[in-house]
Symmetry: C2
Subunit: 138 residues, 2 copies
Amino acid sequence: MIKTQKHAALELTEKQNLVMETLAKSKRPLGAYSILDALRDDGFKAPLQVYRTLDQLITLGMVHRLESLNAYTVCQLDSCASRNSQSASFVICEMCGLVEELAHSNVEGIVSRLLTNFDFRPTKTAIEIRGVCASCQS
Amino acid sequence: MIKTQKHAALELTEKQNLVMETLAKSKRPLGAYSILDALRDDGFKAPLQVYRTLDQLITLGMVHRLESLNAYTVCQLDSCASRNSQSASFVICEMCGLVEELAHSNVEGIVSRLLTNFDFRPTKTAIEIRGVCASCQS
DNA sequence: CTTGAATTGTTATCTTATAACATGAATTAT
DNA sequence: ATAATTCATGTTATAAGATAACAATTCAAG
């Protein structure tokens, strides 16, 4: 194995790259079926192909699922992919649909704060703050 | 209107009471269709009846939706109903399914901490911490 | 009453997700 | 090499979650 060191990004399969590009092009999180529709001409024929690819990307920390939207978005932070983090925090504007990921340097401390007095070993945290963004507060 | 002062609990409709009882009896969060199945003999015939009742109870702060489970649970804190709070925080054990609600005296401070430097007006926050509970860590 | 508004019932449908099994590719043992 | 095993992917069918659209009913105001 004389191959040069591989970067995570280069390891992606064709299908994974297609899903990443689709999500990256979109300004908003996408549902699995929207991704499927966008990729019908690229070999995606069934929902499960999308769901499996999303699962892989989520495991890599490159995509997050927005639990309260049943939708998926590319990770906006380099830190997630580099640590395979499945945890993420988002603000979601209920007026315009804007979604922004919060840096989670803060989040880990906050989670352990919340768990004070709870004997609980966290593996994956979802924080979704819904409300009104700056532009929409006018 | 000479009626005595009403408590929130006394205001509940028949259907709302049935859903509350069903959720309270269950040790685990329930999906809307499980609730429907449990209440088929009590006049519930269609999903929408369950969803509408759940929405009402959620608005009252008496039921919370677990976004990452697509399931519903009675609020375990008196503080939610008393302030009609739609925000809640949970720990969810991925081994045994245990779900426990975290007091949110902490949570509000934490949310504003997370939003430092974000011009965002939060209305509803979902925090769901998945992991392994004390019993399952053995 | 009776009109209009709001709630509740009902059917149909849409969206999201996964089970179950088939096919094919890679891996190892013989 | 090739059979046997395992693991990933394809495909069909269906389960589970949610809501749209409209009908029927209730209920308060005129």
